[in-house]
Assembly symmetry: C2
Homo-oligomer: 364 residues x 2
Amino acid sequence: MRKIGIKEIEDIALGASLLGAGGGGDPYIGKLMAMGAVKECGPIDLIEPEEVPDDALVVPIAMMGAPTVLNEKGAGGSEYRALYDMTSDFFDKPIYAFMPMEAGGVNSMLPIAAAARMGLPMVDCDGMGRAFPEIQMVTFTIGGVQATPMALADEKGNSVIFRTITNKWAEDLSRAVTMRCGGNVAIAPYPMDGAVMKKYGVKGIVTRSETLGRAIRTAKDSKDTDPETAFLKASKGMKIFKGKISDVLRETRGAFNYGHVLLDGISDYRGQKAEVTFQNENLIVKVNDKILATAPDLICLVDTETFIPVPTDSVKYGKRVMVVGLPCFDMWRTEEGLKLVGPRYFGIDTDYIPVEERVKGSVQ
Amino acid sequence: MRKIGIKEIEDIALGASLLGAGGGGDPYIGKLMAMGAVKECGPIDLIEPEEVPDDALVVPIAMMGAPTVLNEKGAGGSEYRALYDMTSDFFDKPIYAFMPMEAGGVNSMLPIAAAARMGLPMVDCDGMGRAFPEIQMVTFTIGGVQATPMALADEKGNSVIFRTITNKWAEDLSRAVTMRCGGNVAIAPYPMDGAVMKKYGVKGIVTRSETLGRAIRTAKDSKDTDPETAFLKASKGMKIFKGKISDVLRETRGAFNYGHVLLDGISDYRGQKAEVTFQNENLIVKVNDKILATAPDLICLVDTETFIPVPTDSVKYGKRVMVVGLPCFDMWRTEEGLKLVGPRYFGIDTDYIPVEERVKGSVQ
């Protein structure tokens, strides 16, 4: 157990926005929510998965909806209480701890805000190890865990409890409500006991985010090497491309952000072209029409000077970015995992090949 | 208290489909559900509102969605149990009786099926005295009663409980889920105690449906007068037009049926034209471009020979129909009532004038 205060939030938000792989929402908004809550209610306790009793109730807290809409709507505070009460009443027992569902600018921060305001600890564990666009895309689904009973609350005071026959139905029904509520809501999916969390969760993800955040923040101060090399080394990222954004297509359809980013190569990549396609998160990157990474591996755009991650809703013409690949959590590379989040699920007609193999093959 | 069996269901379904004012779904489908349940589980007890204790829990049961979709999807049986359990668990007390929410081919029948299968009585009372397209359009809303907690169940096994800040939000969120579930679901809105039901409900509506049904069925046997006069006298209906359907426009948008029916006059109305516009239910009828009735009064199309009501999803080219107007329940004619279901709510730019005045004015 350790305390998470303002300084830790700063690094966690920065690192999680890299793990957001273009999605997960604007880290600035997320940070404001978490910091506001911690300033008001004090630092939270981050606990290890092993500290949670097997029969204790653990509940992920997340925001559902399209990040672009989130910026306009802001985020209320009464939702956490509503989610707590609905879930706790359902199981007729108190919630032992909150946890994140995914890593990303907003959804790594929301559980901190919720934990601070409700006086609960947060577990260092999530269900993705990155961000994904749909609710059923968690390691818990691979483990046969139900997304429901799932509570949903909007900032106006409306609330809903879902019980569905599959986790995809939980996604579909709550997405329909999310759209009707204005584009984003707070949810508490996958209420589970400690034993299940320990068996299927991505452990240590909050600490990993914090470490990545620190790596981004301190890359320029490296005494041994140039900042880019320092960043890539500390993040264990694979450099895929460097370029200037020459075109952005972005549209909101069915509560998702769809689009692509075109890049003209710079420095070592001069004369080459790259394309990154996204659905909330970056799904595939092609360099000179050759695929160099696909979901579920992480495709991240970072600023070439500051290494600060550039989410899909902040990409704009003229910006210089480096495309970095990160291997995904092992469970995603199984047959079950690829069925949930492999390239074909997202309509990309290619087999999954791990990013480290694709990148190695491209170096002539 | 009296028993409702096969014979009563036959008349209730027929009369309720007149009160459906073009909406409320196909009475044949509704009848099949109610009769199937009664054949299997025995007749149900129809109880007077006054027989319900003031503190007993009474719950309307209804199908939500577009009637055209209903025909294709059929209707399961496990939804009633799901609705019962969700509502009863929420209030931590048993449900004393079911009741209909509206009159209409399907929604006057569904509570009979539910009551038979769950072994509960049904109260002779509803919240509309006719059919309307949206959940908040009940007399209970005028009385300040909340539509939520509202349970929703589909035939696949998905279920949802809503708690909303207004009854219109209950409509909007459940409509979004209904569409995602395939176009129709079963719901249990406005759980209320006996005292509230007695204060704001439309009492005796089931018996009224049965009486109307008998009037339709026996009109041809009248010894005193011609069948049409007998039908109009027994139903207290006002004859507005008789014509042959010359055109039908129908489309499903946002889980509603929209459209209009054009009529060429026959017999006394030869050479005249009429237009009936609907959103699930008939909303307005114009004869020679003059408005002769609008919601919330009932505008009903019946077969000119059999007087069997013709719902909006059965109107077709060439059919001969009589347009009949029926005054709505008094509470709908108040300022509060007209705000909920007056012509302007449906986008019709005219003041409400009671059908009996409009029709009187049209007779030269």
